[in-house]
Subunit: 601 residues, 2 copies
Amino acid sequence: MPDYKAPLREIKFVMDELLDMPGHYASIPAFADVATPDMVDAILTEGAKFCEQELAPLNRIGDIEGCTRHDDGSVTTPTGFKEAYAKFVEGGWPSLAHDVEHGGQGLPESLGTVMSEMVGTSNWSWGMYPGLSHGAMNTIALHGTHDQKETYLTKLVSGEWTGTMCLTESHCGSDLGILKTKAEANADGSYAITGSKIFISAGEHDMSGNIVHIVLARLPGAPEGTKGISLFIVPKFLPNEDGTPGERNTLICGSIEHKMGIHGNATCVMNFDGAKGWLIGPENKGLNCMFTFMNTARIGTALQGATASEASFQGALAYAKDRLAMRSLTGPKAPEKAADPIIVHPDVRRMLLTQKAFAEGGRALVYLAAQQNDIVNKGETEEQRKEADELLGFLTPIAKAFLTETGSESANLGMQVFGGHGFIAEWGMEQIVRDTRISTIYEGTTGIQALDLLGRKVLMTQGASLRNFTKMVHKFCQAEEGNEELAALVKPLAEVNKEWGDLTMKIGMTAMKNRDEVGAASVDYLMYSGYAVLGYLWARMAKVAQDALANGTTEEDYYKAKLTTAKFYFARILPRTKAHAATMLAGADSLMDLAEEHFAF
Amino acid sequence: MPDYKAPLREIKFVMDELLDMPGHYASIPAFADVATPDMVDAILTEGAKFCEQELAPLNRIGDIEGCTRHDDGSVTTPTGFKEAYAKFVEGGWPSLAHDVEHGGQGLPESLGTVMSEMVGTSNWSWGMYPGLSHGAMNTIALHGTHDQKETYLTKLVSGEWTGTMCLTESHCGSDLGILKTKAEANADGSYAITGSKIFISAGEHDMSGNIVHIVLARLPGAPEGTKGISLFIVPKFLPNEDGTPGERNTLICGSIEHKMGIHGNATCVMNFDGAKGWLIGPENKGLNCMFTFMNTARIGTALQGATASEASFQGALAYAKDRLAMRSLTGPKAPEKAADPIIVHPDVRRMLLTQKAFAEGGRALVYLAAQQNDIVNKGETEEQRKEADELLGFLTPIAKAFLTETGSESANLGMQVFGGHGFIAEWGMEQIVRDTRISTIYEGTTGIQALDLLGRKVLMTQGASLRNFTKMVHKFCQAEEGNEELAALVKPLAEVNKEWGDLTMKIGMTAMKNRDEVGAASVDYLMYSGYAVLGYLWARMAKVAQDALANGTTEEDYYKAKLTTAKFYFARILPRTKAHAATMLAGADSLMDLAEEHFAF
């Protein structure tokens, strides 16, 4: 397994130098007093230590051992997982970014995202246990009654209990409108939940005293489709009057899925057999309630892509400096050795720099989204909140799909750098590929994100959400128009930024005649958008580095490396937009002409 | 696991209609009498039956069980593997394409390739056992003495014994020049081989009576590097006078690797402890001897890419017709059902058609290469053999790297079509991703193939090998210039064909100043070349289909589907060349500017 070293310098670059998180925290009254620079530093330092020392060593153990389900439905997690969780709770980590009112520390969610990055890079499977709890916490915080918050939220915030989201059924995942789980009213105001849910991450385990399931189900006579779904809280143990876990509820883990990766996380089939639950939020508005924090959940998955790039980059870089093979095409670089370290070879560097560009660019994108999320939740004015919400809504499908797709690419490149050893489990590189592969699927596949972006976010707003973003990019490009050192960045960025709008117009026009044009163009459109957004962020990072160098710095090498990586991105990654631009205009006919029965003979 | 159905109609399309294999076989005296259309048909039918009925059902068993090494170094293969191999031998399959002189059936190697496609698509891991034998057989057939052929080759051809290729050591794979295994002369003319080899596919198992290892090692005082490597035959059991396996040689399987995929194949660490071996070929010419059939081995791996596309396409297509989710954007297509089958969605079709285009295009490319290989080995005139050898040499790195890269893409798309279920082992889609992942690494990584193509094959011949190919494409485009129905294919093909030459010139020029430019451009150049070659083949397949329709056929739907897929390829896949063209010209500086110590801070 590659060692994990929290990239604190890179994290601080994005937080302090690119996004001015200190200023951002200071400007939001809810955070001004708590998220002080000292506090942030302490959290980064302690968080890094916890992830490097406690979680990283468990990553491969989790993969090898996986989770075990016993005959009584109980589940044992891999060796050390439970103990690490106890330390995590002891350290107060679950409560970091939750409201003081329910026992939280009241720190910004964006700071929680930074911690999640370190947790996820060191051990994604482990991180899913506390990660899923956030989904349950957000649901209850936003839609729960006072009593529900008292009973469940406080225990989730402290980490004593964990939570899950029970959405998917075997016949439906993306299309929740056709789900079948039933909720029937009991005499006491509770509901009897009956049905079977699959792919329930952290559905059953041995880490916490209780598990709070948030379950999507249908009330009797509810309207068909997405408008007839309600949300329920269904705890594993029914809470006693004093808040302690009481009677065992009639729900059970029926089996654990055998998966390609994230073996350390228990992915459960959860069977509810008249299990007692309580309605949360209004009847038949379950999906709407879920949508209120869908951006957060999707940004969490976007993060998985960025962590795969980072983890695989760290492993591949160390190997490329160490492994000897062949001589450089321009003559020996380590003549005293039997061969040169493979980092001298241009193609190995191409792979490493691609990973690096996606890891650092991905971090910038995720943090930018997280910053908007802070404002959505705690911004002072309605106007600020609305503006941030629009930007977040636009960035979310891009970040989710683009960063997970490029995360898979990075992970595969990392394997490739290792050659044959990359395919062998003990090196840990193939685990990253397997673990991250789910990220382009769950929380809405790449295809679903692409429809959300092009259909809902862009075309349904007549392009307004895109224009808000491209205006920002345009402003940056104009300001840097005379910046000669960055010309190789600013010029192509301005071109792509303009083309982005033109392409959108063209697709919008054809889509008015044929709705299939949206689906036909969507994934190429999304990937194009991803490269454009990352281009903007890389150009801004280059500008930060340029300024730092101009102003005098003791970290010259660091800022020069940042500039070099930015230049690499524009020379070697951004040109991919050319293929996506051509392909998204290819039209729906090339996809729809073949009759279903003629795909194979 | 998706069911495997041998795509005989597609196989025959490429063999009979695209490449005129019947005419090709008839024109080569060695094959004219044996590879008759009846014989070929019988082999396809029987081969398909064997693969569908015997091998496909073992594919997932192999993945689940893997291989087990016992304390004595023996290895047990997964349930059913041994029995299937016995039936394979009984059916005479190992001898199919080997010389009659040593017990073979004397059929063309290209027919062996077709059989390998069916074997590999149904169960790649199983296919590696007989597959590796071919490497050993080729080595002995080309470089062995009469006695060596009598003793080993006949047993390998019959399938009684199997073979391996022992090249890699833990510190070297791509760079065999630094290998350390020693061979010291014994008094009796044999050699004592000492060293440790890794990644030895089929290195130890329970299927055959003996295992014949072909081992690369150094003689005492041999020159350093690649010019000091010799080849040895090192059998597991030393043959008795009567040819039966005798005394156990001092070599042992030290362990089995735990790998990402191809679990059914035993990938062994082989320890040679003064094991008895015999020199094969001239001293210190071991690598040259290996090169003589490297094209064949690499085409065999190229095939793995195409089989991954085919296998994953078959699985994804069945699922896409069956799985219900959402309604078509243009209105319900199956109003009687709860939702439409997902094949109505444009993006699902994009994924399926991409797989289909790579599977069918990949088959065409592999068979084309196999046809050249037939001529190289058995062509009548020196001129024919030379011409075929040049074309084969040019196509080999392209087929190997491009088809394995696109095979991985196809396999991942197949998983994606399955959504969350794709990540679950029981559906078998993720196994295809894991199994095929090694194909871009072994037999020379994508990076190695790219250097071979651009450096050795193209630039070292001053572009001659490329021109031979682009001339052929140019001729086709000229002939079809007025073909209106194919204009959307022929025009972009002609443009890419011209650009291909221009790009080569530009890179050739910069490479004269800086050798790193070759490595910096190589992988993009290779991928560009792959899309161009497949474009040519798809255009030719479209032409075949067009002619069939014009001439009247009972298979109108089939040929129309072929035309539609060709149009899809040009609309949606070929434009990827735009990105590769831009990127390959980005120059080496973007990769070489960053100092090794500044990749991370």
